[in-house]
Amino acid sequence: MAKPRVAFFEFSDCEGCQLCALDLTPEQLLDLVSVVDIVEFREAMTEKAGALDDHGDGTDSIDVAFIEGSINRESDVARLKRIRERASIVVALGACAHIGGINALKNFQSEEEYRKAAYPTDPYKYESTTAKAIGEFIKVDAVIPGCPIDTGEFLHVVKDLLVGHKPQVPDYPVCVECKLKENGCVYEKGMHCLGPVTRAGCGARCPSNGGYCYGCRGLISKPNIASQQDIMQKYNLNEDEMLSKFKMFLQRSKEVFPDDK
């Protein structure tokens, strides 16, 4: 059987997730390249095989495209669609691609505000619109959530794709993993955590390490936002503070910010 052709692409992001994807032991790396062909990967390769298009991407068909980053420019949309056409399977890699990520924080500002903040001297020199997730433009077959992603979960998704499994990321909240780690709940320590509505899979990384969940993996499919708000209120969070909790990663989530652009 021919090895599946795999490629990585990035849009607006910090490239941290691609780094995480390749943060492998030498054995893992060898195993990985023995089962897949990485054909495009700017982070890790200098050469691309075959002809290039005007975005600098290849033109051959690919089996799996891992796409990192949110979409912030009209021109990105065309490139994104081109990748979709080339790929049998598209995987959103990391929070930016999956839910707009930190980039989507700017959507709470006016266009003028965020342009000035980013390019103080010449705010209108570059293209920049509302930050959106890739799934708002193209069909996404699987996601690897998180900011940054978890290397183990990346490998998991790769294996799922190889055996012909629909890649499964948990659809239950972070609390499940937090309890399995036998953590005391951070609400009892005066912190406010989005664990009860956030998709698990990170191993409750933040509450297990002295912090609280920011929701970087996005919401579960059926979050009870009203109850989450009641709880934060009961634990003395006022309306504004509550809102800023949700703003961090969940700007593109209709359950929290329904009437958004």
């Binding site: 893992q28 195993d31 055996v163 239950y172 609390c175 499940v176 399995l180 036998e182 979050p223 109850s227």
Partner: protein
Amino acid sequence: MPYVYHIKQHSKNRLQKISASENLSMFKQRRIVIMTAETLLISKQRLISSMDAAKSNYRIAALTKTNDDRYVYDYIGKGDDIEFEYHPTVIPPKKFLFLSKETLFEFSDDGKIKSELETTPTILFGIRPCDLNAIKILNEAFADHHGDPNYLARLEKTLVIGMECTKVCDEHAFCYRTGSQNAKGGYDIMLYPDGDNFAVKSVTDKGKKFVTKYLTKHTANIGADDFINEVLKKKEQAFSKEKLFPNLDKMPEIFAANSHHPIWEQEGSKCLSCGSCIMTCPTCYCFDVRDEVALNMQHGKRQRVWDGCMLDTFAVVAGGANFRGSQTDRLHHRINRKFNWLVHKHGQSVCVGCGRCVRACLAKISPKTIGDAILADAKLATATVDVPLDAHKADRDLYLPMPAKIVACESFTEQEKHFKLELENGKSLGHDAGQFVQISILGVGEAPISLASPPDNTPTFDICVRKVGDVTNKLHTMNVGDTVHVRGPFGHGFTPEIMEKMRGKHLLFIAGGIGYVPLRSLINQVVANQHDYEKITILYGCKTPSERMFPKELSHLAKIGGKISIAETVDQAEEGWTGNVGVITTLIPPIDLDPTNTIAVIVGPPIMYKFVLKSLTDKHITADNIYVSLERRMKCGVGKCGHCQMSGIYVCQDGPVFKYADIKDNEEVF
């Protein structure tokens, strides 16, 4: 109610008489402390050094404090690590017997399967009564009907040393509500603490051997009985202010009568489906099963991980239907497992009031609140069907599938493909019509599939597979010569008793869509023996003509005539379809039948049942003469994982074939 303790030295004979004569009923707040074992006294220091001595032969798990000041049950390095004062833990000691993640077997790409069971002798030290009751419940659940090999192997290697509580551990605990502050079992040895001294009493042979080997040399047994007496008296005092649930002994009946009590919606609407309650509960034992392959794709393992009914997707079947789609439905299910469905089976409340779920729930949903609200209402109903405990020894092969070769296959539609499989061991599957098998593709997973061929003595059998999930998608790519793996047959099908009841009757088969498959084995069986029946009527409805299963067979059946008649309908016609168009219920009124001599069998999608059942009732067919085969999510197939459960019934074990009369009052069915 005051707690009365009977503490007496009894001979073994006398004890046997007592247990036979006295009704040791589940909620009797009376304890017979069995005094045949040697009781003795020991100081804390000596107890600790005995544990240090035992460490050379056992690994010991006990309550300890972590560096960041959390209390957890963990394996200890030395006896001094043990915390003797109880502080509630997030996760109960169940985790040592039923691991949060464990391997059922390993496989390699050549199809070889191997499994290993636990062999390390382990001590669980200082387990409190609530958790001991929970261990007793798990011991029974994992041995019920089929012996779970992994759990029972571990249990056999484990010695449980309990420790009495002398006060209520915190404001969230409510063991006293469910009568669980006294251990009804689940331990080998009990410690009765008083300051820095302990009385030790062993109640099993395993416990006695351990005591003799590790504890006796440091101890005195004079006065031990009085010591225990004193400890229990103090305990009784400390708990005297706390009350049992009202009507505790009628819990199942009252819960059965209160499925529509407002408390369900009131508490359920707050629920976040966060799963904290089920992760921390000592008596939750549901699990999910997943295959994990190595990155080099050459080997892998099938694992089970904790799962639970409060999570949104727990009861979702491959086709996408969720049988408990709301938080309220799920809360009702979880609490009814604890306070209703499983109570008779275990002879005690299955919530042991440890308070873990209450501490963990940010929405502050508590079984205590729900119990108090519902049990105050003394309205009674007949409790749901009670299937008694049926203890079995460990079945080494319970989760190990057998290889089977595809010897024939044919695609019926885009979605449905038919396979003939042959077991490599050359044996016959030995199934009844209506049973199912679990088909494995190693690395992908396992899926329940109905058997489509009638029972026979050959090593081959038929399945018909609809593409709805990973396993079935993969199966569709497989062909003659390929190997799959099989477990089963499972469940309750059309048993010889049911077949006997059908003799001489007019049989009315009503199938919708792929529901024809589980019926096909039965239809073929009765058509082959048609002289045994008065009449055979087959009604078959599909969405479109191209979804019809076994089309050749259907036209063959239509041609036989005589006492066999078949009527078909589709929801939407396609080109070339000249038959009926309309829902399946339109086929029922015209049938000429004598309701006293008719038996109806229905299999189809969930939505179909309600309407078909109504039409049959209109025809005066009684619930005793209707059989249904139900679909639920299934993982284990053997009554363990909880996925298929509806109102205390395991569809994988007690079904999928049910007499309608047996389940019609069961609120989670349709």
